[in-house]
């Protein structure tokens, strides 16, 4: 799928990180047995007021936004034809495959009547007014598209060069689809909360939720590519891809500025400034969340700052935290179903989420070590 060459990095698989991830996986399996045997109430703190908790906010919302690297890079490389970033595509697709697949799997932990999930694809059941229907179908389709996009790497790893070559001839269609689908569902993940109406604080409730969710997802996509490349280089003792990351991160401050203009424009136009400076939990969370967007915009704005890997890493990290916070705020902190309802995730809920993350870590380690994902050294 590439001009440049990729290579499995090899090395020992059973590292400490790997074993710790396996331990968390076992804990998750035990807790999931309890969840499926005794119901959601046995392991989670979710309730009729806060019907969605950590699993939706983190595993689905943040999980898929972190998995937008593939989407963001495809947009840049194939749609805006910036071929020089090609070496970053395959690792980005890998994390996207894992992120989205795991988000899809964790939805099965969360939904109550999972054995009827196929109803979502039966035309006589689909409700075309439902934002959830669009999100579910779109994510489902995108998981399939991502695996198709990742198949050449798999096929090459298994020595099936022919399969990879044939698939690459029609790949342009899946690349197009692979940009359309996340554009649709990452924005709809914002629209999802519009129907919550006044249950969502005015600081987050707006008809512009789809716009804000889409821009922030793309921004998080570029940030995760930068973050992962720097982290991976240091963990696997590979040279830093600073030159390319420096150029790539030039797009980030502009996206942040558009995001902030829309975010604050909406607040000002609708006279919501009073909520911002009410100095209660919601107001403070809003300030912190947006400060986390402003700082990386300032950090990355001067061109010369982008050549410093430390600054790049910090800025990417802050954006990932900011985007995560925006999602947690929209789905949990800013959500108030009325007096008397409380929610904070239970230990079991948190452990299951950690288990899901550990599956991603295990998968990533296996794939970069055994399959040609990362750029071959001395070439890229």
């Amino acid at each position: 799928m590439s001009h440049h060459e990729t290579k499995a990095i090899g090395g020992r698989l059973l590292t400490t990180t790997f074993m710790a991830a396996v331990a968390l996986l076992i804990v998750m399996a035990v807790l999931l047995a309890k969840r499926f045997g005794m119901g959601l109430g046995a392991v989670t703190n979710m309730n009729d007021g806060y019907a969605w908790g950590l699993w939706i906010a983190y595993d689905v919302l943040v999980g898929t936004a972190f998995a937008c690297g593939g989407f963001a890079m495809a947009l840049l490389v194939y749609i805006f034809n910036k071929g020089q970033y090609h070496p970053l595509v395959r690792p980005a697709i890998l994390t996207s495959v894992f992120g989205y697949t795991l988000a899809g799997v964790s939805i099965f932990f969360d939904i109550g009547r999972y054995w009827q999930f196929y109803n979502i694809v039966l035309p006589w059941h689909i409700n075309f007014n439902s934002v959830m229907a669009e999100v579910a179908l779109c994510i489902l389709a995108y998981v399939v598209v991502l695996w198709i996009e990742f198949t050449p790497a798999l096929a090459e790893g298994l020595g099936q060069k022919d399969t990879a070559g044939k698939l690459n001839k029609v790949m342009f269609f899946f690349i197009g689809l692979g940009v359309l689908l996340p554009t649709m569902h990452q924005s709809s993940l914002g629209t999802l909360m519009v129907i919550a109406g006044p249950k969502l604080s005015p600081l987050w409730q707006t008809n512009l939720l789809p716009v804000l969710f889409l821009i922030s997802a793309i921004t998080m996509g570029y940030s995760i590519v930068v973050f992962e490349s720097l982290l991976g280089s240091s963990a696997f003792k590979r040279p830093l891809e600073t030159k390319m990351l420096e150029k790539l991160s030039g797009v980030i401050p502009w996206l942040l500025i558009v995001y902030l203009v829309v975010r604050f424009g909406e607040i000002l136009m609708n006279g919501k400034l009073g909520y911002v400076f009410s100095f209660d939990l919601k107001g403070n969370m809003f300030l912190l969340e947006n400060l986390l967007y402003i700082v990386p915009a300032v950090l990355l704005f001067p061109k010369e700052k982008r050549s410093n890997p430390g600054t790049l890493f910090l800025a990417a990290f802050l954006i990932l935290i900011a985007g995560s916070m925006y999602r947690f705020d929209t789905y949990l902190v800013g959500f108030d179903p009325g007096p008397g309802w409380r929610y904070f995730p239970s230990a079991s809920e948190i452990l299951i989420t950690l288990g899901v993350i550990s599956v991603e870590v295990i998968g990533y380690l296996i794939f970069v070590k055994k399959f040609p994902v990362l750029p071959k050294l001395g070439h890229a």
Binding site: Q116, M184, L192, I195, I257
Partner: protein
């Protein structure tokens, strides 16, 4: 990659356009009309004595086949105050076992009925059967439906996938989930629609001794509510029992009503209407805009996805761009 000043201006202008579009009221779907034979309930808190007969009978008559609480593991799903005190049903709020609840509001010394100062009032909470229900709009698999003729909002466990988006969407927190079941479902009031075939109606109204809850056509209930608001406070008037068109009436002293019938306009209107002597916010009812949240949400979706034209055009453009940028390589 570096962006030029011109690009920035374009982006800023784009953001402005987005802002303008997002704040435009025309984005909402048109307001929904009341179904032709819509049925509902009128609850008059000034007539309610808090006897909880409606709660008991709601449970009894919905635990039979076809009822909203059917099937159950063991008989009627009572909520006992303590496991060793199995004498009476005492739920604190609505739950998957309690689809109708009487709550009390008390202020100060709490001696004056229907008064905001040193007074108290009861309130009966259950599904509002909205004219434009958020739960129906939200449900991805059409498990929640609004009956085209009676307007009753029903639930089908055979369609439901348990995503609980209905619970997020409902402004009244009505749909309840069975958190402690391995194979759970959503439970909600279905206005005793399983009893209509035998000429019966909502059990809560049939067993209300004072006429605080009456069943009937929504248009009749609206007229009855307006009639009550026009009555002179302190006089004795005939109030119908059980149904709005009932021949059985009881003379009751007219209380001081708040000049507001809850449900005529709230969230696009509801088929459950409430009257009270104290503000509805004190009774725990949310202060909702007249536009249904479902209309806003559907407006956004249908603007973006009308006929799937915009996504199809975008896909064509994306596939073309991808083709152009990959055709020179072996990819």
């Amino acid at each position: 990659m570096d962006l030029k000043r011109r690009d920035f201006l374009k982006m800023a202008a784009g953001s402005g356009a987005l802002l303008a579009a997002g704040s435009h009221p025309a984005l909402a779907a048109p307001r929904k009309e009341l179904p032709p034979n819509a049925v509902g309930i009128l609850y008059d808190a000034t007539l309610c004595i808090g006897c909880q007969s409606c709660m008991v009978n709601c449970k009894t008559f919905n635990s039979v086949e076809g009822g909203a609480l059917y099937p159950q593991k063991e008989g009627i799903p009572y909520e006992f105050p303590r496991p060793d005190q199995r004498f009476w049903d005492r739920p604190v709020d609505l739950s998957s076992n309690t689809l109708n609840v009487i709550k009390a509001f008390k202020t100060g010394t709490g001696v004056n009925k229907d008064s905001e100062t040193d007074g108290y009032s009861f309130v009966k909470r259950h599904c509002m059967h909205c004219i434009d229900p958020a739960c129906v709009s939200a449900c991805p698999v059409s498990a929640l439906k609004k009956h085209p003729d009676t307007g009753v909002v029903t639930y089908s466990k055979d369609a439901c996938i348990g995503c609980r988006y209905c619970q997020i969407a409902c402004p009244y927190n009505i749909p309840k989930f069975e958190w402690d079941e391995a194979l759970p479902q959503i439970r909600k009031c279905q206005l005793c629609n399983h009893r209509y075939a035998e000429g019966k109606y909502a059990a809560c109204c049939e067993f209300c001794p004072t006429g605080a809850s009456i069943f009937g056509k929504v248009t009749d209930l609206q007229a009855e509510a307006k009639r009550r608001l026009s009555l002179k406070e302190g006089t004795y008037q005939a109030y119908p029992l059980q149904t709005v068109d009932s021949k059985h009436t009881i003379p009751t002293r007219v209380a001081r009503y708040l000049d507001h019938v809850y449900g005529l306009a709230e969230g696009g209107g509801t088929q459950y209407l409430l009257m009270s002597g104290v503000p509805f916010s004190s009774l725990g009812l949310p202060d909702l805009p007249e536009e249904a949240a479902a209309a806003v949400s559907e407006g956004i979706q249908h603007t973006l996805y009308k006929g799937m034209i915009a996504p199809a055009v975008l896909l064509a453009g994306l596939v073309f761009s991808a083709y152009r940028s990959t055709k020179n390589g072996d990819e």
